[in-house]
Symmetry: C2
């Protein structure tokens, strides 16, 4: 059993956030002793799942839905699986987009490195868009694909 302050420290979260999660129904089984929240292993596990779902882009209300499904038992396995599948696909697409953005950023770093050496962008502008050094061309093309 942990107090809210101990859990906050364990998870490096502000106490206010834990209270907010509770208010939003993310700890449906949370118990209290004379008003004071008592966090058990069940809530810690919930918190681990919450962190994962949050990172994967879910909103609080969707996480609440997931918690509700968990309470409901095995009949909701398909819902829970569908939710994770959907998130997985969304994240995979986001990852692809990020790779493109990253190539763009790498290109821009090279661009300004070169501009600094030249003192201007004249030579660079003459090279664009298809007379760049080979590996830079790849970055540029990836970023615009």
């Amino acid at each position: 059993m942990y107090t809210i302050g101990q859990v906050a420290e364990l998870f490096h979260l502000p106490i206010s956030t834990l209270r907010y999660y509770d208010k939003e129904g993310l700890f449906p089984c949370l118990e209290r002793q004379s008003g004071i929240r008592k966090f058990s292993e069940r809530e810690l596990e919930a918190l681990r799942v919450i962190e994962c779902l949050k990172r994967s882009g879910l909103e609080i209300k969707d996480i609440k839905q997931f918690m509700a499904w968990c309470l409901e038992g095995p009949s909701t396995y398909p819902d829970r699986k569908a939710m994770f599948e959907a998130r997985k696909q969304a994240l995979e697409e986001e990852l692809q987009q990020m790779q493109k953005t990253l190539d763009m950023l790498r290109f821009k770093c090279w661009y300004y490195e070169t501009a600094m050496q030249d003192g201007n962008e004249d030579r660079l502008n003459a090279m664009l868009p298809d007379h760049l050094p080979p590996e830079i061309q790849t970055l540029y093309d990836n970023a615009h694909a």
Copy 2:
């Protein structure tokens, strides 16, 4: 020369967003004819850069700073490069985190697939945390690394 409506269509952005960007100073050279915004090639190029910087996680006010540097000339090449370097590093770290999250999601998909087959989580709970099938164990470990 384009009207705000044409640009909105070209970039699949609401008109209100373009006006908001203008209000925030993202088009420092934008001209007007009797009050009406006239978007030229310069603003389209700015918009392409804005989209990239936004995807890379920059806030509007930082993008505004970048636009100001571009106006200022070659003396700000180092600032612009530093900005892209910082974004590049941040995005690379974020990408790593996302890979971990993705492994967690893949694990959860397998978990609920298995739970559905079993009709309960008893066997799964007995396998956790270190008696999982080999490739699933890898996902699990990566996600918690």
